[in-house]
Amino acid sequence: MAEWLGLFQRFLKDFILGAGTTLELTAVGLLMGFLLGLGLALAKTFGPKWLRAIATGYIELFRGTPLLVQLFLIYYGLPSLGITLSQTLSAYLALGLNSAAYQAEYLRGAIQAIGNSQMMAGRSIGLSRWQTIQHVILPQALRLALPSWSNEPISLLKTTAIVFLIAVQDLMAKAKRAATITYNPIGSYLAVAVVYLVLVFALDALLKWAERKTKIPGFEINTKRV
């Protein structure tokens, strides 16, 4: 045990750097995924048939294949088509595109729940479709989606762990390095597991705070957090 703590201490700085990268990957992936996912959700709810089909196709493809395959496709596969991206960029792209597909479903559920009747109400006072989406539907839908959407940042944080397989220097990569140096794989990965747990708890607390902050008085929706 003392030996393990010693390992922890020795590589703490390394782990913190790695954790920083992990958080960065999560943030970028989440943001990309949100913007694209919102677009997909709106397309699926309000778009013409052909746009809905494209959105559905995208979502099915990215949710139906492993992230690892998507990552390898981007990092190893694209160069043979002339597009070469750095490890970090490939990771951002893969995480963002993948997360978009999942976020689209969370957002779509909320938009559809709010959708139709509020669209009627907005248009009845002369707002255009787009204005109604902007000022009436999204403010409500995003708040409604928050509890179930909150699963995504946490899921994404855990998912970023695989990018070390294309040598991105995240937390997992630091663990691997520690393992190689100390010949103690179990200890190293256990140490990193603890750091991940801490990150997840912190993120969870942050999300719960956000939920409380954005509540609409009197408009309580009970959606379960998985």
């Binding site: 009845s124 006072i125 707002l127 204005q131 409500q140 609409i216 008085p217 408009f219 309580e220």
Partner: protein
């Protein structure tokens, strides 16, 4: 000289093979309060939604003043500034306070400056008796209060015509009165209104004309006295009999 504000000509609506209503003709003059009654599912709500262009009719025309609003190329969003609608389920914007609900159309559609919008919104809320609830969210208001905010929201746009789609059907009995009161006052002030409702007392006392719709067409149209005491058709008499019994109001035949 009565001036027609709204003219509906031969309006038809289908869903697939189902005919919701067909060849509806209706003229609404300035200041009229028209009450539409009839059994459920006969297309009364759909008719209102067609008037405010939230649903596209399959045939016929609707004219607002001198403009055919069902014509191709008509600016629907603009038209909807001149028609107000009150919904059965209120449909308030849940994330906004009562005041903000009323203000939204003023700032985003009519582009009024903040101060002017605020003033007007407060005035409309006062008109429906809810100035003291301006900062409450819909979730903090009773059904009757929510509906009155809904009315204020529609009125704020200064519409030519107000449409009411079963405004009290979703309310607890003791809250119905406050909404009908607001509607009665509106009518007395000269607002042109089309009201779909089952509230026969309101129809009798406030309507200038009552329209009885059944199975997708207008069976009979006339003043309250005409319909209640001298209905031309058996179906009209039957329906009125049933519904006044159901609502426990005084019989039509006295």
């Amino acid at each position: 000289m009565p001036k027609p504000i709204l003219t509906i000509k031969k309006l038809t609506k289908k869903y697939g093979n189902n005919v919701i209503f067909h060849d509806i003709d209706l003229v609404v003059n300035e200041g009229d309060t028209i009450v539409v009654i009839g059994p459920g599912g006969t297309g009364k709500s759909t008719l209102l939604r067609c008037v405010i262009l939230l649903t596209k009719p399959d045939g016929g025309e609707i004219w607002l003043d001198d403009l055919e609003i069902t014509a191709k190329g008509a600016d629907e969003d603009r038209v909807r500034q001149h028609i107000g609608m009150v919904f059965q389920n209120f449909l308030l914007f849940n994330h906004l306070t009562a005041l903000e609900n009323v203000k939204l159309g003023l700032t985003k559609v009519k582009h009024l400056p903040e101060a002017a919008a605020h003033e007007k919104a407060l005035a409309e809320l006062t008109r429906v008796g809810l100035a003291d609830r301006a900062d409450h969210y819909p979730g903090q208001l009773s059904g009757g209060q929510q509906q009155r905010v809904g009315i204020a929201r529609a009125l704020a746009m200064d519409p030519r015509v107000m449409l009411f789609d079963e405004p009290t059907s979703a309310l607890d009995p003791e809250l119905i009165g406050e909404v009908l009161e607001v509607m009665r006052n509106l009518s007395l002030e000269g607002m042109t209104m089309i009201v779909v409702t089952h509230e026969m007392g309101f129809a009798r006392e406030v309507a200038d004309r009552i329209v009885f719709m059944e199975k997708g067409s207008i069976v009979e149209e006339g003043t309250p006295d005409d319909l209640f005491y001298r209905p031309k058709y058996e179906r009209t008499r039957e329906f009125l009999w049933k519904i006044t019994e159901l609502y426990g109001k005084k019989e039509a035949k006295e």
